[in-house]
Symmetry: C2
Subunit: 298 residues, 2 copies
């Protein structure tokens, strides 16, 4: 058996198209344009590439985009002032500060300074709390939210399924657990979370209907760690040395793709799986933020 590919590029294009249509409708019905501000501190190349990708997608979908680049030695106060200004700016409905911030800044201070209503990354405790409580007037963190939509768009039901998450980060593992366990349509899974302190991770993954690998270790999940026909979602983005590549490295996920694909029923590739969904989910959150801030339902 060869697994079917869960095509994140295709699903994200569909989702982005839906978002673009709703953005256009919002302009017609309410004369409103969602706006997203991205704050970049320093000139880290990878962060910069990522921020530019987000800005480009924003504009493509008809969303207003603002990019603020601060010096890498910027004082925390300066960042907080920028955030305070964006919090008040009615053209901006979503704010994100590209992480990680430079070492002189306390990330939790920055996160807590963002108006929760504009916290489209869902990093603020109040939004994380709403997520766990199952309240729907907050946001869902972009990567887990993107995965939920990706599964749904491929007709992969999670109800009553045993989902095993590898990794307990605040960005993926924990919010993924919170989303999957809810008593909500498209969730309702039995959830297990494994991590660095778990004994014999494969004892858990081998029993899973759906495995979500988010542990940040290149090709960690091997074929003997899953059961026949499992669905495998790969959140990892790791560089490994590759002398054959002109760059000297290549990008792999947390899953040993080729061998696992021979046993799984569905699998996400890296790249082209979860990655594009994360940005598409961010666009949904920006649209939602605009609607919530203007008391528009639906």
């Amino acid at each position: 058996m060869q697994a079917r590919i869960i095509d994140g590029k295709k699903a994200s294009e569909e989702l982005n198209q839906e978002t673009a249509i709703e953005v256009a409708n919002l302009a017609r019905s309410h004369n409103l344009q969602p706006g997203l501000a991205v704050v970049l501190i320093g000139d880290d190349h990878a962060s910069s590439v990522y921020v530019n990708m987000k800005a480009k997608k924003t504009i493509e979908l008809g969303i207003y985009s603002e990019k603020i680049v601060l010096d890498k030695n910027a004082a925390a106060d300066e960042v907080l002032q920028v955030i305070a200004r964006l919090n008040k700016n009615p053209k901006i409905h979503g704010i994100l500060v590209q992480s990680p911030p430079p070492p002189q800044m306390d990330e939790s201070l920055i996160v807590r300074a963002i108006n929760p209503a504009k916290d489209v990354d869902c990093f603020h405790p109040v939004n994380v709390g709403k997520l766990l409580l199952g309240e729907n007037d907050g946001f869902y963190p972009c990567t887990p939210y993107g995965i939920m939509i990706l599964l749904e768009k491929n007709g992969i039901d999670t109800v009553g399924k045993h989902c095993v998450i590898i990794g307990r980060s605040n960005i993926v593992g924990k919010p993924m657990m919170a989303l999957l366990v809810q008593k909500e349509k498209g969730a309702n899974a039995t959830v297990t979370v494994c991590h660095s302190m778990t004994k014999n991770i494969s004892d858990h993954t081998r029993r899973a209907d759906i495995v979500i690998a988010a542990i940040g270790k290149a090709e960690f999940l091997k074929v003997d760690m899953i059961k026949d026909g499992a669905v495998v979602v790969d959140v990892g983005i790791n560089r490994i040395e590759d002398s054959k590549s002109p760059k000297g490295y290549r990008i792999v996920g947390d899953v040993a793709f080729e061998e696992v694909a021979r046993k799984a029923s569905w699998i996400t590739p890296v790249p082209g799986g979860v990655g594009p969904m994360t940005i598409a989910a961010l666009m949904r959150n920006t649209l939602k933020a605009c609607k919530l801030q203007n008391n528009i339902n639906g």
Copy 2:
């Protein structure tokens, strides 16, 4: 084999004694007294008994206690005004509104009106979010927090253990999962959450090192659902008919105690297990709230 009893009464007395000592120290060192206000809406007998138990324990430990009883037909506005007044009252460090509120009130509106710094029940989304994120300047919900202390006081380590929680309520199941999964001393468990949509709950519970039953079904967990030597924590409080009892009923937990006790290594009784820990944890939270509001460490 006969399980050892996890004595919640004894552990709660120890914990309460520790709290009383700290309260006395706080009076000496800072001339401060922690204060807890309990708001009761209506005259529901069970709620009233519970509120009185809390108030009595508060006074016993040297904590200032205030009880506000409102008419069961009180308007939501009236409740919100009472909360607003307590939010401002410097003698009050913790506020709880005995749930469930009467049907005319939106519980989430009441919860969100409480100043998060005084939310000793940990119902406010911002505190729930801090809990999931692993930030320690909020509170832990009293029942799961009480269970963590109960395990610790009995030398039952959770690190690397597989904990299976039955139930996904906002009061027990979900926060229990959040506490156990953290990368923190006394947590670090591999966690599985089962619920009404889980297929074959016993497939999961039979593999667990620690089972936490919080599903609200009388004697749900039977002996054939656990493995030899498992630790069993029973959160349930259920009435079942009993013609031999003068009241016509008796209280049982979510665990079929007698049979499960023959196979488990440790088990909590009902009553006298988790119950007393919940109130003792509330007292800890009130003390913590007082310290946080006065910028006192430790």
